[in-house]
């Protein structure tokens, strides 16, 4: 009987969940009709430009702005000191969950001294951006250059300059994990592999730069901010708090967002200054970062040096990992998410796929005179995975064990969950064994090894790299932000409404940056309700229109926001069926909704939703007076005791190294990953592919290189190399679906899994190619120069 079966809409033959559905927004984009922040023009709008510090570390003796103020078209010139007077106070980027962490107070623009080259110092607002930039040239600042702290290895030296005297030294944070008996494990090992690693500094390079357009209505006190943000509610609180406007009077609208990757989950001083200017002037003010200032003002990430070792038995059994992480942050810890997550995550996830019981890891995070670092796609995972997987491979080679077999012998068994990793994280619903076997099959692993051996005889050096991974997704409120005290909501919500025509509006707190969030929310809502997907419109990215939520970060939109949509839609369905039961004089549990029509147990079409909508909105007299339809349902979802929903998978990379030039050619890349329930296979695949390429960029090309004075030498797209089409391989993506047990939808995050493990697979592949030369590379990006140096050719 239908009424006895558990409600499982995703098992239905007409389920949209599990099917590829095209994104409606793509139709606008291919016609040139996207709408990004910089496309919005408001009456009387002005434009902001910033004068930024030319020095990495320098005291401001004086600032003379009168000449700039007199320039044609200039409406406002504001120094850091001017802005400080109208701000409620400085940011301090610490969280209670990181005991002992310290950070200096930070104002939106430099006040007495600048602490990185690129820090905003003076805001200029004029009729056009060009006029604002003209005026900036007339600002006269008397600088006194100070010694800069640029190298993380010497930042804590006794004679190192101290960036913030109030902190005493340049130390931001230390954390350690020690299971105990690590030395004994190493002493009992048959093989120990030890290595040092360097990871270069990266930045997100979203193609659309950071953009903000602020408008303040002095009559009502309403502040409206159109901005390219992943987290409208978080940034609402940040602006409200900093500028003394009540949260509920601040509307954040995120229109089309042109790439984000974590760099648009943060708060930036130049954006606060722009909003402050709009409030002061009572006119709309727009700021769009240009590419050059993006490089020195967007969030940075990944700068870490690591010394690590692995202890292994002759059987291949991994006994222990031991690592020491030195993480180079920027001049301040980023408010409110901090600059210590990368190091923290490296400690959490290194060696995460494996069953070893002994683990010791220490992290030291130091301040440098560079732009603040913080969360960027796959936070810490590219580094932890590269270190752990390199050690596993090298240990396997020493033992004569194939890298696949080495992993087979050490991963957690698929039936071993729940489990706890040696680093102390709880693991559930993972599938390392199945993913490995699928990878072996997809790669044609044995044949590939034969091809490699054959080509090696002809002097062609190819390498195969394997990297298993875990990925923390969908953080919960008991985790860092929640218990740490950050104003970031770790729940997310959906408000779903039935309209008079039978259409449905679904408003969600999670946001869309092109990954297809809105589309998958529509798939979940339509499937749960039993209506055509065209009957659903999803709204996101407007704090006036959506329920409060954290937005999109940490691969949380599908798993957290999607479950909220599912639960809200289930509630709406139940109400519709209750009303239909009344109208049809039938038992609601004997009814269902199929293709937008209420059907009875025999499947007979009884009542279209348009009729339910019409009656419930316009013809309420047809209902008994005891029945008051609501037809608007809200559900919130959050993790309970879990810190994350972990996803897992394994990458395979196939590369060719030219031993004469040091060039690495990527031939093919494979990913098998488990993001739980696959909602839209195409969109999931494309998240993985895009993520892989972002990871490969970091592994082979991208590098923010600073000179000894703290000047960025690679601050343009000419010098900071991003992956382009010609160098990238085709990427084969396959999925294993182990549903998450923490929700009914069963989804886990997928957006960062490519980025998190691709660098590990590529580095392992390069080193596999270099094995005949007994050479290794352990610094990323892996450049032709570093390959030739490893080969002893230069």
């Amino acid at each position: 009987m239908a009424e006895k079966a558990p409600f499982d809409p995703f098992a239905r033959a007409d389920s949209y969940v599990g099917r590829t559905v095209s994104r409606a927004a793509a139709n606008a984009a291919v016609a040139g009709r996207g709408r990004f922040t910089d496309d919005v023009v408001l009456p009387r709008m002005l434009h902001a430009a910033f004068l930024r510090s030319p020095y990495a570390h320098a005291r401001i003796r004086s600032i003379e702005v009168e000449a700039a103020r007199r320039q044609p078209g200039v409406a406002l010139v504001m120094t850091g000191t001017d802005l400080k007077r109208i701000c409620t106070g400085p940011w301090v980027g610490t969280l209670a969950c990181f005991p002992g962490m310290k950070s200096a107070p930070q104002y939106p623009m430099a006040v007495d001294k600048a602490c990185w080259a690129g820090e905003p110092v003076v805001l200029l607002v004029a009729r056009t951006r060009a006029e604002a930039e003209d005026a900036a040239q007339l600002v006269d600042i008397a600088w006194e250059e100070l010694p800069a702290v640029v190298d993380k290895h010497t930042a804590l030296a006794r004679d190192a300059p101290v960036i913030h005297a109030g902190l005493g030294d340049n130390l931001a944070f230390r954390r350690s994990i020690d299971t105990g008996e690590v030395e004994a494990a190493f002493a009992s090992a048959d093989v120990v592999v030890e290595e040092t690693f360097e990871f270069g500094r990266h930045t997100g390079v979203s193609l659309e730069p950071r953009s903000v357009l602020a408008q303040y209505d002095k009559a009502t006190g309403k502040l409206t901010i159109i901005t390219s943000s992943q987290c409208p509610h978080m940034i609402q609180r940040v602006f409200a708090e900093m500028l003394g406007v009540p949260d509920h009077n601040v509307q954040i609208i995120a229109p089309d967002v042109g790439g984000s990757f974590g760099l648009k989950i943060h708060s930036y001083g130049d954006e606060v200054a722009t909003v402050a200017a709009a409030m002061q002037l009572g006119r709309p003010v727009k700021f769009v970062a240009d590419r050059l200032e993006s490089f020195v003002s967007d969030i940075h990430a990944r700068e870490n040096a690591i010394k690590a070792r692995i202890a292994v038995k002759r059987s291949g059994e991994i006994l222990a990992f031991d690592l020491d992480v030195l993480s180079g942050a920027g001049a301040y810890s980023q408010y409110p998410r901090t600059s210590v997550f990368e190091a923290n995550q490296i400690l959490n996830i290194t060696g995460g796929p494996y069953r070893h019981r002994h683990y010791r890891a220490r992290a030291t995070v130091v301040y440098l005179n560079k732009p603040p670092s913080s969360q960027y796609r796959a936070v810490g995972h590219p580094i932890g995975n590269a270190v752990g997987e390199h050690l596993v491979d090298q240990a396997a080679y020493r033992l004569g064990i194939d890298p696949i077999e080495m992993r087979r012998r050490n991963v957690f068994a698929d039936d071993a969950y729940p489990a706890v990793s040696a680093s102390g994280i709880k693991l559930k619903d993972l599938s390392h064994q199945r993913c490995l076997e699928v990878l072996v099959e997809r790669m044609g692993y044995e044949a590939l090894r034969q091809e490699q051996a054959h080509l090696r005889q002809r002097g062609i050096q190819r390498g195969i790299g394997i990297a298993a991974f875990i990925k923390g997704t969908s953080p919960g409120p008991l985790g860092y932000y929640g218990s740490g005290g950050a104003p970031i909501s770790l729940q997310d919500a959906c408000v779903i409404k039935l309209e008079p025509n039978g259409g449905v509006i679904c408003a969600v707190g999670v946001t869309e940056q092109g990954q297809g969030t809105n589309t998958i929310m529509g798939q979940i809502a339509a499937t749960t309700l039993g209506i055509p997907i065209e009957a659903v419109r999803v709204i996101s990215g407007d704090t006036d229109a959506v329920p409060y939520g954290g937005g999109t970060f940490g691969s949380r939109a599908a798993a957290i926001g999607g479950e909220a949509v599912y639960q809200a839609a289930r509630d709406l369905r139940a109400e519709i069926l209750a009303i239909a039961g009344e109208l049809l004089q039938a038992e609601p549990t004997a009814l269902d909704i199929v293709d937008g029509v209420v059907v009875d147990a025999a499947g007979t079409r009884r009542l279209p939703l348009a009729e339910v909508g019409r009656i419930c909105h316009f013809q309420l007299g047809e209902l008994p007076s005891s029945l008051q339809p609501v037809l608007s349902h809200t559900r919130r979802f959050r993790l309970q005791e879990d810190l994350y929903i972990f996803a897992n998978g394994v990458h395979g990379a196939y590369v060719e190294v030219d031993a004469e030039t040091g060039f690495v050619r990527l031939i093919k890349h494979w990913v098998v990953e488990d993001c739980g329930r696959l909602i839209n296979p195409q969109l999931a695949d494309e998240q993985v592919r895009g993520g892989c390429v972002q990871g490969i960029g970091g592994a082979l090309y991208e590098h923010l290189i600073y000179d000894a004075a703290g000047q960025l030498n690679t601050g343009s797209l000419v010098d900071y190399l991003v992956p382009m089409a010609a160098e990238m391989p085709d990427i084969d993506v396959a999925h294993v679906q182990t549903l998450s047990s923490v929700s009914e939808l069963g989804a886990k995050g997928v957006g960062e899994s490519g980025t998190g493990a691709a660098p590990a697979a590529v580095m392992n592949a390069v080193n596999d190619a270099l094995r005949p030369f007994n050479a290794r590379v352990t610094a990323q990006p892996i450049t032709p120069e570093s390959v030739l140096m490893a080969l002893g050719r230069i």
């Binding site: 590419r291 494309e686 592919r689 390429v693």
Partner: protein, 165 residues
């Protein structure tokens, strides 16, 4: 200093415009701010990313590297114009079906660049398509879906005798 301007007349997407423009204004700022053609995007303003690609007198041009005054007398086509004529309707459809875009910021430039290949439709290897598009930066897709969409369109056109979908 006062802004120095110069009059220009040009055709954009088949329509004639005469405007007085700042001599330092580049073509894309002119298209976006003066004509409201916001489909063309600025990604780097130093000629690397390709987001600002437009067609000027039939040639693919980086709109950030050309001043508006240099386009005096020119015939300019932007993504809005390409969309209106239907010249790449099949390619646009392939982009949507193959999800060859995510945020959509690079898409106009990518389509303009791919349209060059389609004007002489011949079978191209994936490597050739990759090389042709390697002046256009996409941070979202990893490129494979874009290559797939262009390859599929090229294939359909060469099968269909260069038809326009």
């Amino acid at each position: 200093m006062s802004e120095q301007t110069q009059p220009i007349s040009l055709t954009v997407n088949g329509e004639r415009f005469s405007r007085s423009v700042p001599v330092r204004q580049h073509l894309v700022d002119f298209l976006r701010t003066e004509l409201g053609l916001t489909g063309t995007h600025l990604g780097c303003e130093h000629g690397v990313c390709g987001a600002c690609s437009v067609r000027v007198d039939g040639a693919l041009v980086r709109g950030c590297l050309l001043l508006a005054v240099q386009a005096d007398g020119a015939d300019v086509v932007t993504i809005e114009g390409l969309d209106a004529t239907g010249e790449i309707a099949d390619l646009q459809q392939a982009f949507v079906q193959r999800n060859a875009l995510q945020c959509g910021f690079c898409t106009a430039g990518m389509l303009l660049a791919a349209a060059e290949l389609l004007r002489a439709p011949a079978r191209q290897t994936r490597a050739e398509i990759r090389r042709h598009l390697s002046g256009n930066f996409c941070r979202c897709t990893g490129y494979q879906s874009i290559i797939d969409a262009v390859a599929a369109t090229l294939e359909r056109r060469s099968e269909g005798g260069g038809g326009r979908g």
